[in-house]
Symmetry: none
Subunit: 234 residues, 2 copies
DNA sequence: TCCCAACTGTCTCCATTCCGAAAGGATAAT
DNA sequence: ATTATCCTTTCGGAATGGAGACAGTTGGGA
């Protein structure tokens, strides 16, 4: 799930936000002033940032400038929390490249929707090229279109199978335990004695046919996507 | 670079827009009410116009009519800025002929994308009319006229249906979640527990008849417009 | 002003697909 | 050979999306 950094000095609000974000399944990073926020952003690279405009050390505008000035954080969308609906704040926020803003007091629901929208846009906009599918040996994956091909023949995967494949691929050459797959693909956290993952891996392999060998079993640990297409042994 | 006329009375928003447009390399003309907007449009012939629906002297709809009534400004695409809940239906149809609209508060990023899309279309179809229509297999879409044909037979779509179709088409071969469609077509931010999108897709498909197969359902994810007219599965 | 037609969003119902669990068979490790 | 681990098959319940119906709105015309 997505990681959200909350830069907010009011303790109570910080708690409320963190609680609600976690409840929605986000991973939450917290910072209570601008400098800490900048540091955390640079180190942890969150998927987006909630930024209070009024902070004890730096004004939020400066934090925003700081974020935009650094290549590693430049592209992280910022959602501004402004104390009053002053137009000036809005202007500054946008000028500085904030993605959106909400005015306090805001409803948590509204805020969550904005966050969702931003993350959706960020994800959707990532592969802007028309035909940029991942290619791995005989396997081709187009995440934007949600389509998969093996040897130029399209394979119909269900959404879970697709997520499982992408997750394995993104972390190729690293063993994924069943528990971590359950968490990342299913969004569950259960210390599991279930064979659910096995079942889906099996179905996925079936559908992948010739490309099934890319998914390797690591006995006693979990599953691993091959490091390179050639490494697969017959 | 393209010239954009911004007709907007709120000073701050005017500034935000101008700043961001210039940053993107556009030349910006500004007007703070409808009459000034009409004059400026006639004199300077911008490549497109951002028009607030709520202006001090004239409603934006009237400005739009005025633009369409004058030969020198008739072909300039108009992008409407509307507040939430304002009637947007009539804005789009034949009546007013606006090219697109965004609902306030909008993210500047989103707005810039829309502007890009409009200018791209406009440039591609320089000699304004005859081949202004997009062709996709048996489907023909004329965004300027808001008309659609299937196998050379015109299909009557409502404004939402049209917008939905265009949105899907412009992002073809990319799955659109229901939530993102709700946001981009309806201008709503909502947890999608609703079947509204499904219903409209269904109605759209009905009307498209033979071309309905271009709109594909991706179970558990959303909808996707086919990548190419031939790829449609039986 | 009133009425009618068109449009839109929501609801319910239903067929289909999909998921997760269970259980027994197969395979690798010791 | 024995055990631990993984694969395979099967099946009922749940989720998903489409079809149809309906009421609230809106705009246009009588």
């Amino acid at each position: 799930m997505a990681r959200v950094l909350v830069i907010e000095d009011e303790r109570d609000l910080q708690q409320v936000l963190a609680y609600n974000l976690r409840k929605e399944g986000y991973e939450v990073l917290q910072a209570v002033d601008g400098l800490e926020g900048l540091r955390t952003a640079k180190v942890h690279r969150p998927d987006m940032i909630l930024l209070d405009l009024m902070l004890p050390d730096l004004p939020g505008t400066e934090v925003c400038k700081g974020l935009k000035a650094d290549v590693t954080t430049r592209d992280i969308p910022v959602l501004m929390l402004t104390a009053k609906g002053e137009e000036i704040d809005r202007v500054l926020g946008f000028e500085l490249g904030a993605e959106d803003y909400v005015v306090k007091p805001f409803s948590v629901r509204e805020l969550l929707l904005r966050i969702q929208a931003i993350l959706r846009r960020a994800h959707g906009a990532k592969p802007s090229n028309p035909e940029d599918a991942l290619i791995f040996g005989r396997l081709r994956i187009d995440t934007a279109a949600h389509r998969v091909w093996v040897d130029d023949l399209e394979v119909q995967l269900t959404s879970i199978e697709f997520r499982l494949l992408v997750m394995l691929y993104e972390r190729r050459n690293r063993v994924q335990s069943r528990a971590s797959l359950l968490e990342d693909v299913w969004g569950l956290q259960a210390d599991t004695e279930t064979r659910t993952v096995d079942t889906h891996v099996k179905r996925l392999r079936e559908k992948l046919g010739a490309a099934e060998a890319y998914i390797e079993t690591v006995r006693g640990v979990g599953y691993r996507f091959a490091a390179s297409p050639d490494e697969v042994h017959a």
